[in-house]
């Protein structure tokens, strides 16, 4: 099987704050990491390769330093990498990102399956996976929690996806795209061989012209959406401590919740 894993290098989101003086993101000292969900996507791909043979290629769009995220993928056992990087790609929204990744996938040639994490933790949109599938005009299933059957010969797979009220079993023909939730597997640890390979591997970099991408469809200029304002969220929590013995605490809590009108169901 020829499998492509889409990954994203993200800032460690728990340390991203807004500078109240300048109203800009404070990025100093915020470390980068591979989006946690992408490790489950990578593991999904590597297990399919273990089973059926083939290659796994990690693909990302990002600044030149995103190369390190691709090398990290090689440590785990990914065979090939590709970095889509160009100043023109900067500031892309999910639509422009999907378009650019689609151009990158076409550049890589054919594939049987694309695997993405369910979302990236910096934007939390979950839109690039299905957007990429639509740009490539291939079927997709989001939020996959289990691969039930993968038939490389008849080129179809049966997967189970997580919904809000349970799960659904869906059959999908290849080539296809899936996004996966963390429940699907437990990612492996990097291998020594992988680490050696990661140091040496050449990471191909493709820019606007290499991809024959339309400059009006990439980056900030090609993005249908624009961020017009960023602001810090309202600090929340009235932080009332309810002290006393457990019985007293319980009584005060119920009293307070009734006053706030949030205890209306069942308990009346």
């Amino acid at each position: 099987m020829k499998i492509i894993v889409c990954i994203k290098q993200v800032p460690d989101t728990k340390n991203v704050r807004l500078d109240p003086a300048t109203n800009t993101l404070k990025r100093e000292g915020v470390e980068s990491m591979v989006n946690p969900f992408d490790l489950y996507a990578m593991e999904t791909a590597l297990r399919l390769k273990d089973q059926f043979g083939g290659t796994v290629t990690a693909l990302t769009m990002g600044p030149p330093q995103a190369e390190s995220a691709l090398r990290e993928m090689v440590e785990y056992g990914v065979d090939e990498t590709a970095l889509l990087s160009d100043r023109a790609f900067a500031g892309a929204d999910t639509w422009a990102t999907s378009y650019t990744l689609a151009k990158g996938v076409k550049k890589l040639g054919g594939f049987d399956l694309i695997v993405c994490g369910k979302q990236a933790v910096d934007g939390d949109t979950a839109q690039v996976g299905p957007g990429l599938a639509e740009q490539l005009d291939i079927p997709y299933v989001c939020f996959v929690r289990r691969l039930i059957e993968v038939d490389h010969q008849t080129r179809r797979m049966v997967v189970e996806r997580l919904m809000d009220d349970g799960s659904e079993v869906v059959e999908i023909p290849l080539p296809a795209l899936i996004t996966v939730v963390k429940e699907i597997n437990e990612p492996r640890v990097p291998s020594l061989r992988g680490k050696m390979k990661a140091k040496k591997i050449a990471v191909p970099v493709y820019g606007l012209q290499d991809l024959a991408a339309d400059p009006d469809r990439v980056g900030l200029a090609g993005s249908p959406t624009q961020v017009v304002q960023v602001f810090a969220p309202q600090p929340r929590g009235t932080r009332v401590r309810l002290d006393g013995r457990p019985e007293e605490q319980a009584e005060r809590l119920i009293e307070a919740l009734k006053k706030d009108k949030v205890l209306t169901i069942g308990a009346e």
Partner: protein
């Protein structure tokens, strides 16, 4: 703004002629040409296998032909999801501000009766596609049909719940329409100066809020976090225009096939729809702690949530996980028991109306976001709460 057809690339295959909903493309000689019926909807751009057609987007402006607010009325097994009513409430407010009509889009099978409820909750018009093929949800058909409908009717705003279903198929439609989509909005408004939709959402794990516009493309599309918007009043007997939608379209062939639905039978109330959530973390000490929390949840008519720590310890299934790698919830009441409050957990629950924290560590960060903090042993406090509620 114009349609550009590259005659060097065009093979005259006719895919664009078939894709055009307006009969605006013809093959003349051996290449495609657009006639005056073309309204730059982009269907042909999408359909062309050799990428010979493009729209000169540099001049793309919000077309005046786009009008009205739409909400996608999600239903599951014939019943409207709670978020559908929330969208109607919010959509009504936006439509009134713009002075335009509010329409609901309802796809399914044997869901006709539900249209009445959509009118009662504020819809002026309901686009109904009622067909066996739409009984089960597939991204292909739901996304493809919504795309076709938007191309034909041209609404300026289309909203959908940020549910698993909405977040799955809505990006397909937005990409097919070459328009923007803002995910998981917690605030919407109209900028009066230019009538644009202001879409506000959390980013970077909720540490930052961003307001987003889609100025030049139409429609403006957004998914909206369930439980954040409030449904409007129900007016029994209020009616509107019911528009039957043809479910089968040329080129709309499903590739994925729904096989079966596996209901989560372990819970009576599902996280995303719950008004009250009782959640447990590592502080429970063992899987048994969830028996106690389940008792409280059932008493309150609520659902059971969990931190990543509790799920990783295999005390409860992943379907219950709240937080960055689990679900984002926005209930009226969130009771966190034995949860320390790592940022990754707070991301998933801090838009709850009221947060209660029970923890034996007075320094736990969960208390910083809590409205009511109870320091102590949850195995003493929770039974006391249950006891008093039962009285």
């Amino acid at each position: 703004m114009s349609l550009l057809i590259d005659s060097d690339l065009c093979t005259g295959c006719g895919a664009c002629v078939e894709a055009c909903p307006f009969g605006a493309v013809e093959i003349i000689g051996e290449t495609a040409q657009a006639n005056e019926k073309c309204n730059l909807c982009g269907a042909c751009v999408e359909a062309c296998p050799v990428e010979a057609i493009s729209i000169d987007k540099k001049e793309a402006k919000a077309d005046d032909g786009y009008q009205g607010v739409w909400v996608f009325a999600e239903q599951r097994r014939g019943r409207l999801a709670g978020v559908s009513f929330e969208l109607l409430g919010e959509g009504r407010r936006l439509a009134d501000k713009l002075g335009v009509s509010l329409s609901a889009v309802l796809f399914g099978h044997r869901v006709r009766e539900e249209a009445g409820r959509l009118f009662a909750y504020g819809a002026d018009r309901v686009y109904l596609a009622d067909d066996p093929s739409l009984d089960a949800f597939t991204d292909d058909l739901y996304g493809g049909l919504l795309t076709a409908l938007i191309r034909e009717r041209r609404p300026e705003i289309v909203l959908c719940g940020a549910t698993s279903l909405g977040r799955s198929f809505f990006p397909k439609a937005a990409n097919a329409l070459n328009t923007g989509l803002t995910a998981d909005c917690t605030g919407l408004d109209i900028r009066e100066a230019d009538r644009l939709l202001l879409q506000t959402r959390p980013a970077f794990g909720g540490n930052i809020m961003a307001t987003i516009l889609c100025p030049n493309r139409r429609p403006q599309m957004a998914t909206v976090r369930p439980k954040v918007m409030r449904p409007g009043p129900c007016r029994e007997g209020r009616t509107g225009e019911l528009v039957e939608v043809e479910p089968s379209r040329p080129g709309l062939v499903p590739k994925t096939r729904f096989i079966e639905f596996i209901e989560d039978l372990s819970e009576k109330v599902h996280l995303a729809e719950a008004d009250i959530i009782v959640a447990g973390g590592r502080g429970l000490g063992s899987a048994k702690g969830f028996d106690l929390l389940r008792e409280l949840a059932e008493l309150l008519g609520g659902a059971l949530g969990a931190s990543r720590g509790a799920v990783d310890a295999e005390w409860i299934s992943y379907a219950h996980q709240v937080g960055q790698t689990g679900k984002t919830v926005s209930p009226k009441l969130y009771i966190a028991c034995g949860i320390s409050g790592a940022v990754q957990h707070l991301v998933g629950m801090q838009s709850a109306d009221v947060i209660v924290a029970v923890n034996n560590d007075p320094g736990a960060p969960i208390f910083d976001v809590a409205d009511y903090g109870l320091v102590g042993d949850l195995y003493e406090i929770i039974p006391a709460v249950i006891n008093q509620l039962q009285r």
